[in-house]
């Protein structure tokens, strides 16, 4: 009877459980991100992690109100045929003082200007005051496939100045913005007329541009492998900046050895080993330039942080070990083989580095010390799921939001940081400043949400090391597998122990020494006799 009752109760419970699980499953699958959020642990194993970002919105031409451009009633009206969607957009730039986005809508040959909510407030098809690529009807010097845009504010006139990498017209345009749809060209950077440049490349098709605080223009030209092309503020070519190194593959080394023995004719017939050009760059608030190399699976100089002299300041004994992007052991889910192609980099005001992988559609977020914070985003073949990309071309970070522009889906995806992400960023920022103790609280919040987040334990370890709580520091360093830091904590801990118990240790040592001397004396005088060991009767040799 009892057993029967038990059985019924059991059935009811299990049915209830099954029901609740199914219900829960539908709910979670609805709310979850369209990708698996993961992180790498100390061994380089991919482990599941909480998402640091979630997809907030996907913005298309409709949400950007691009139809205003073709609407005669609107003050933004350009023409009836003006496309009302993005097409192959390749760059997105955020101007901080204006709080405006500038988008290079490459396929539509225009630069779009939007407010911080991505509503369009201006559109530039070309500039006036230049004779290149003149349009007969409007009299504008029109853009042709503009692939890069950079904006700063002219301090004298307080007007925005845009720099446009006008790819097919082989020029970079500097123009002062006058109104919602007109800009006056003030300077045109064209192919440098120097032997130095002629040696590097025959063409000049700028793809990405950057201007530092001194007004010096850096241009990425995809046919130039000797670094970015640099122009000073008057528009004269001054040289190249921060070239990549040649990746030491087996073929390159073999050729280097061959060159030692080959005759001049043979050397002339050999292919030259040139480094891969970098694809994109960004400048941080301190004026350091970060470059990213798009070549598939690049391991040499994939990501660099350049000082004004063009040297990679991460290229030190420790920096050489910096790794960015997915680890080669982890193959892409779609293709089964490893492929990584870092296409864009953006550094936000806190120095947090975001990398965009074109091949996997993933965004990798790092601190300045190469600590991986988050991996999010994904590539999708069906292209209709929010938060997945088909051709992610550009990335921009503004505050708590990350904007990714897609050149095939023709939209902009906005990621917004989660609560988890907020705590991680807060803690990481404090940690970067060296305020380890202040970071204890946010790190604890991080651990509450993701117990496998090893950077949090490392941060806690550092904090406890600073406060002198070495036991706790050791515990945390052990969890985050930080052997060197653990070693330091252990050293301090041991020093403390020895200092505290110095007298006791000396006393014990003295007692032992005295005991040995006394016992020896007693042995010699025969007062104590050696205990006899019973010897086993040995068999004589077999």
């Amino acid at each position: 009877m009892v057993s029967r009752m038990k059985k019924i109760v059991k059935n009811i419970i299990s049915a209830g459980l099954a029901l609740s699980i199914t219900a829960a499953m539908t709910v979670t699958s609805y709310a979850s991100e369209p990708y698996v959020s993961y992180n790498y642990d100390a061994w380089g194993d991919a482990i599941p992690s909480q998402s640091g970002y979630r997809v907030d919105e996907t913005i298309t031409g409709y949400e950007m109100e691009l139809d205003k451009l073709a609407d005669p009633k609107s003050d933004l009206f350009i023409s009836d045929e003006e496309p009302t969607d993005l097409l192959g957009a390749s760059d997105i730039f955020y101007e901080e003082s204006l709080k405006e986005f500038w988008i290079a809508d490459s396929g539509n040959d225009r630069i779009l200007r939007t407010d911080s909510n991505l509503k369009v407030i201006g559109c530039y098809k070309g500039v006036s005051g230049s004779q290149t690529s003149l349009d007969a009807e409007t009299g504008l010097s029109v853009f042709s496939n503009p692939t890069g845009v950079y904006v700063n504010i002219d301090k004298a006139t307080n007007k925005p100045v845009i720099f446009v990498a006008d790819n097919k017209n082989a020029r970079v345009v500097k123009a002062t913005v006058e109104s919602k749809n007109s800009a006056v060209c003030t300077l045109e950077y064209t192919k440098p007329d120097s032997e130095l440049y002629a040696n590097a490349s025959e063409t000049f098709n700028p793809s990405k541009i950057l201007v530092d605080s001194a007004g010096i223009l850096y241009v990425v030209v995809s046919s130039v492998t000797t670094g970015a092309v640099v122009f000073d503020e008057t528009g004269t070519f001054t040289g190249f900046y921060g070239a990549n190194r040649v990746e030491q593959t087996a073929a390159v080394i073999r050729q280097a050895i061959w060159r030692k023995f080959a005759s001049n004719e043979q050397i002339a017939s050999m292919t030259r080993n040139v480094p891969v050009e970098y694809a994109n760059f960004d400048i941080d608030s301190e004026g350091f330039i970060y470059t990213v190399t798009e070549a598939a699976n690049a391991s040499t100089d994939a990501v660099k942080k350049l000082n004004p002299a063009g040297e990679n300041i991460w290229n030190t004994a420790t920096g050489n070990q910096f790794e960015f992007g997915d680890l080669p052991e982890y193959a892409s889910v779609d293709t089964g083989s490893f492929l990584s192609r870092l296409t864009d980099i953006v550094v936000d005001n806190d120095g947090i580095i975001n990398l965009l992988d074109y091949e996997t559609g993933r965004i990798f977020q790092y601190t300045q010390d190469n600590d991986l914070l988050f991996i999010f985003g994904s590539k999708n073949t069906t292209s209709d799921q929010r938060g997945t990309f088909t051709a992610p071309n550009g990335i921009e970070a503004v505050g708590e939001k990350i904007y990714v522009i897609d050149g095939k889906k023709n939209d902009i995806t906005i990621f917004v940081e989660t609560t988890f992400g907020k705590y991680v960023h807060e803690a990481a920022a404090l940690y970067e400043k060296g305020l380890y103790e202040d970071a204890i609280e946010p790190w604890n919040e991080v651990i509450k949400r993701d117990g496998g987040y090893s950077l949090a334990y490392y941060g806690l370890g550092k904090a406890y090391l600073n406060t002198g709580d070495y036991e706790k520091a050791m515990e945390n360093f052990k969890v985050s597998v930080a052997q060197n830091s653990y070693d330091r904590a252990y050293q301090y801990d041991r020093d403390d122990f020895l200092r505290a118990n110095f007298t006791l240790i000396i006393i014990i040592l003295l007692i032992i020494i005295v005991a040995i001397i006394v016992l020896r004396r007693l042995f010699r005088k025969g007062i104590i006799k050696m205990p006899k060991i019973k010897k086993k009767p040995q068999k004589e040799g077999k």
Binding site: W43, N484, K536, Q538
Partner: protein
Amino acid sequence: MYEFSQLGWLKHVIFHPVEGYDDLRWKKKGSMKIAMVIVLLLFVAMVVKRQLTGFQFNDSYVKIFNIVPLFVQSIVYFFTWVIANWALCTLFNGEGTVKRICIYSAYALVPYIVGTFLSVFISNFIVSDEVVWMNVIYYVGLGWSVVLMIQAIRTVHQYSFPKTLLSIVFTLVAMLVILFLLVLLISLFQQVYVFIASIYTELTYRFRG
């Protein structure tokens, strides 16, 4: 001349690398039981080294503990060594029997085992600046064992010194061959097993209807 217990003989051999084995051989001593315990301790030392080395010196992948490689690296290697050495040296006028090679080789391992245990022990009390102490103890043990092993092989087969070294090199080669064949054999039998198992599965499906 020498009257020791079995453990006394072990001590005598270890601390007299030059003539210890000769005495052992002359007196026809050496215990198989002790030898087996030593081999077991070798295995334990390997495990201890992996698991109990101080955190700051321990680079092993602690997420998974697989005992099979450690077992192979200690016990399987040891017996392969014994068999390979015997098989080779009987062909080259060696006088050793399997039993004696086994006992003498095992005795030679003791300094290495002791060194490993000691270095693991102190690794828990030192920082990385003092790592040299740990390494010294470990490598002294290792070197001592190597010297003893050469002496063991020299004595057991009554070889000259150069011939001993040569025989050790060839023993290592023979070990490789044996292990290769062993792996081959295992994989072949595995395939046979899979074949039979699949036939069995097939048949059960047929008969079930």
